[in-house]
Amino acid sequence: MATQREEDAAEYLKKHRIIELLDNLSCMLFFHRPEKPREFLIEQLEQLKISQKTQLKGPNLFNSANLDAVFGILDPADQKYITFAQYKQALITLGIEDINECPEGVNEDKISHETFRTEAMQGLQRRSATYEQP
């Protein structure tokens, strides 16, 4: 039986998305491996604060060049479309949760490069918005 304090703490963590925040920070740390980890973390947190205020994109490990590369791998014949199954698997691999199951083009099973990029960017944005959601 969780005590009141434990429940309060769990709720706090969930509301402010603390675990996702620390996960993202750890990923950044281990990927970049800066000489001065504290300063690096402070920088990331400042950027996150700004993105929280302005609703602009927060810090993230993937950028649009990475997304283009992923699409290129999935579409080697350059048909400009990928299947829904490919689209979903790629988003899962990028670590995105609550994927949009009905993106544009799902009925023809042809997800365009544009659609893929938009959905991926939005998903990544949701992942990096590790602060209280209004």
Binding site: Y12, L13, H16, L22, L25, R38, L45, K49
Partner: protein
């Protein structure tokens, strides 16, 4: 298992980086079962629950370091807490907080506390608020603190922890009752500074101080109750702080006690993932010790030879190559060994649980290449004289029927019937062993130069003794 999924490899550089900057302590992984460090990010958030976590974290990271001292100094009356705490806080440049200092300021809280008769312990709520307030002040916040003689009971300890007052180190001084008695009989206090001296053991530095000294001998029944009360609370206090506690014997010369306390307080808490190298001549017990250590500490036991053999048994290109070397009885070239090693030690289980490697490196070149790629953080040399090595190995034999292994001296065959059947392995022949031994001896000096901080363990004792020695080196910082 899905063959198309490649096994996850964590680059060893990540463990090295984490170790170097003590990342896990900083982040405080949620997988740890008890949150004890309020200075690290996650537990700070859980304890304080600030409305703006991002700003809170930034402020926490900006504080100069997580290494400010937070020490509790506990012990029975007359054991020497006051002197110790004073000296410690001076050396660490931390604030010295005593019960007296908490009671002696001008606030309403202190006045309330002073109204409590001295024979009774302070009510927990009151003590908690006094301590919290004092430790929250700017000097304690930035320089750290040494709390003397608080908490006194298990209940107080728990309340302090709940309120987020979490020391990094707890020192409990101990001495037998008769020593305490002796000390309390001769206790003298300087009323001006509060310094504690003793009529016989600790004399004041000069005559002017000596003239001021007052006897502070507590009445016998009071002293005995205080002592009894402390002894009753000891198990509770010890269990409350068990992971940060060190008990120090105060029945020694003051300088020795102080050195031990200071050394302990200076150790940083590290959650270190072991990357251990076990080196030594054949017969020194590397495989056995590696197995014992890996079983106890749940790290991965990597025997270089076995690893190569298992790769050789695979049908991969690398395996075939290695197989041809082993078949011909030639030494597998360093480049191949390192390749296999990096792959093996880069696996997830090795990165998370740690590893202990034996049978490699054997010479300077191998050691240097290993250092670049995998940087072990503990190295041990098992020392054993040549004749003992020879004896341990050449007298080994196996019973082909039961598969049991025996040793002519330490573990002889049970009957002469078994004795007759026994066979020795070609690699256990004295010729092979002497050769390997000579190889080891030529390279030892070079290896020891690569690992100057390595521990040297005497392997000429029973395995349990060696194991104890290894363990104590491992757990010391």
């Amino acid at each position: 298992m899905d063959e198309t999924v490649k096994p996850l490899r964590i680059p060893p550089q990540m463990s090295v980086y984490a170790d170097k900057h003590n990342i896990f302590h900083l982040l405080q992984s949620i997988r740890s079962h008890v949150i004890l460090y309020s200075q690290s990010m996650l537990s700070g958030l859980v304890v304080e629950q600030p409305a703006d976590p991002l700003s809170f974290l930034i402020a926490l990271l900006q504080r100069s370091s997580t290494d400010i001292p937070r020490v509790l100094l506990l012990g029975p009356p007359a054991v020497g807490k006051h002197t110790m705490a004073q000296r410690l806080s001076a050396d660490l440049r931390a604030v010295h907080v005593t019960l007296e200092s908490l009671l002696s300021d001008q606030s309403e809280l202190s006045a309330q506390a002073r109204r409590v008769p001295p024979t009774e312990p302070l009510p927990v709520e009151l003590l908690l608020r006094l301590v919290q307030r004092r430790l929250g002040e700017i000097d304690c916040f930035s320089r750290g603190w040494v709390l003397e003689g608080i908490p006194q009971t298990h209940l107080q300890a728990l309340s302090l922890q709940q309120a987020g007052v979490l020391p990094e180190h707890v020192v409990m001084l101990e001495a037998p009752d008769d020593v305490l008695l002796e000390r309390s009989r001769g206790k003298m206090v300087d009323p001006l500074t509060g310094d504690v001296y003793h009529r016989t053991f600790i004399l004041p530095p000069d005559a002017s101080v000596a003239r001021r000294l007052e006897e502070r001998r507590p009445a016998e029944p009071q002293r005995d109750t205080a002592l009894q009360r402390f002894r009753r609370e000891v198990p509770g206090l010890r269990s409350a702080y068990q992971s940060v506690l060190r008990v120090v014997n105060a029945d020694q010369p003051h300088a020795d006690v102080y050195q031990q306390v200071l050394a302990f307080v200076r150790t940083r808490r590290r959650s270190r993932i072991p990357r251990i190298l076990l080196l030594g001549p054949p017969g020194s017990g590397k495989s056995l010790q590696a197995r014992l250590l890996s079983e106890k500490y749940r790290m991965v036991d990597v025997c270089c030879e076995q690893m190569l053999r298992s790769v050789a048994a695979e049908s991969s290109a690398l395996g075939e190559e290695i197989h041809s070397y082993l078949d011909d009885g030639r030494l597998v070239p360093d480049s191949l060994v390192l390749q296999v090693l990096e792959e093996r030690l880069g696996r997830v289980e090795c990165s998370t649980r740690g590893w202990i490697l034996h049978g490699f490196p054997r010479d300077l070149q191998q050691a240097k290449s290993l250092q670049e790629a995998l940087q072990p953080n503990r190295v041990f040399f098992l020392e054993l004289a040549d004749d003992v090595c020879l004896e341990r190995i050449t007298l080994r034999a196996t019973d082909p029927v039961s598969g049991e292994r025996f040793h002519a001296v330490s573990h002889p065959a049970p009957s002469s019937e078994v004795q007759k059947r026994l066979q020795t392995r070609p690699e256990d022949s004295s010729h092979t062993v002497t050769h390997t031994l000579r190889q080891y001896r030529t390279h030892t000096a070079a290896l020891q130069a690569v690992y100057p901080g390595a521990g040297v363990i005497d392997a000429d004792q029973d395995p349990l003794g060696v194991f104890e020695a290894l363990q104590s080196r491992l757990t010391a910082d």
